[in-house]
Subunit: 193 residues, 2 copies
């Protein structure tokens, strides 16, 4: 028997990532975001929801660029800190926790060094929704720790050990194990009967 | 040392969900989607990327409604089947795997009965990006299996056992374990030094 819970933006799981931008004085900023997703194959795009009150919101609009940085589970405390503390109140929030950055190769946004995967995005489109705006960036380049990159050029998920987020309960989660390949494990049902 | 991998829509993890819509003859359709996210707090919104060639694309545009259905890991094979098989070629794809549906309470889209969480969305806005369009639905109602709902009204993630997706390698994944609460575990770093 199902219960009706009323409306809220509920979906499982979400990624917990860091959105990197430059402030107007050129210092690097990072904001934790869990409401982010791949959203187009060609051009390759990532989207992220940002509240209009956040410093990151103004930074993306001004710089027309941002990075999506994928942390390991071992960075959960730092990730949470970067979601609690506003860059508007504490412009040195990255320095405070000794997080270094490197300039993007192709866009005007910082790569968070400690994150094993950094995605450079050029602001492509945006959609105002209410409290949040959905910013869509065209992916221009991906940087990944060499030891995570498999021979086929793909990122090895167990080695990456990415951080997931559960919106409803507000908790960070690790990933479990692989259950099977897409466009593969469902083939058997095509043949059924 | 980081390697440059070139552009692709890479972010970890994504949710593997079923998008429910009605076809023009009133039969229920479901398409697997991993490119989906919460994207606004108020109004509460979920977004999903749908390729323009999919039957779901036409269905959302016509019905102005869709559901996001969260499967358990035990449904991975069925989820993959619903991503492989097109409703355009096989209008009975849900019947073929004995998946029943119930009409939405507030929107004109089907709830996939076997999924423990069903979210009813009214099409709110959309953003054409290229191969894919980002459809944003305002969440009108959530239905959840009673045994998943905690005393505080939130959905218990371990009991839900949702299905994650790794875009880069194209694999379904289970969730691991809780690492800590958001807006909580990072507080210690605020006090540092």
């Amino acid at each position: 028997m199902k219960k009706r819970l009323g409306p809220s933006p509920t979906i499982f799981p979400m990624p917990a990532v860091l959105v990197g931008t430059y402030n107007d004085d050129g210092t690097a900023n990072a904001m934790t975001a869990a409401w982010a997703a791949a959203c187009c194959h060609s051009p390759p795009c990532l989207g992220v929801a940002v509240r209009s009150t956040r410093l990151t919101f103004a930074n993306i609009q001004r710089q027309k660029a941002f990075t999506i940085n994928v942390p390991k589970t071992t960075l959960a405390v730092e990730v949470d800190y970067l979601g609690i503390v506003s860059g508007a109140r504490r412009p040195d929030k990255l320095e405070h926790i000794d997080m270094g950055t490197t300039s993007g190769a192709l866009v005007d946004a910082p790569l968070i060094d400690v994150c094993p995967v950094n995605v450079e995005c050029r602001l492509f489109k945006s959609l105002e929704l209410g409290t949040h705006t959905w910013f869509v960036g065209e992916v221009m380049e991906i940087h990944a720790n060499g030891e995570l990159v498999r021979e086929d050029g793909k990122i090895d998920v167990p080695s990456l050990d990415p951080l997931a987020y559960s919106t409803s309960v507000g908790e960070y989660w690790s990933m479990g194990e692989s259950i099977g390949g897409a466009y593969d494990i469902g083939k058997e049902l095509k043949q059924r009967k």
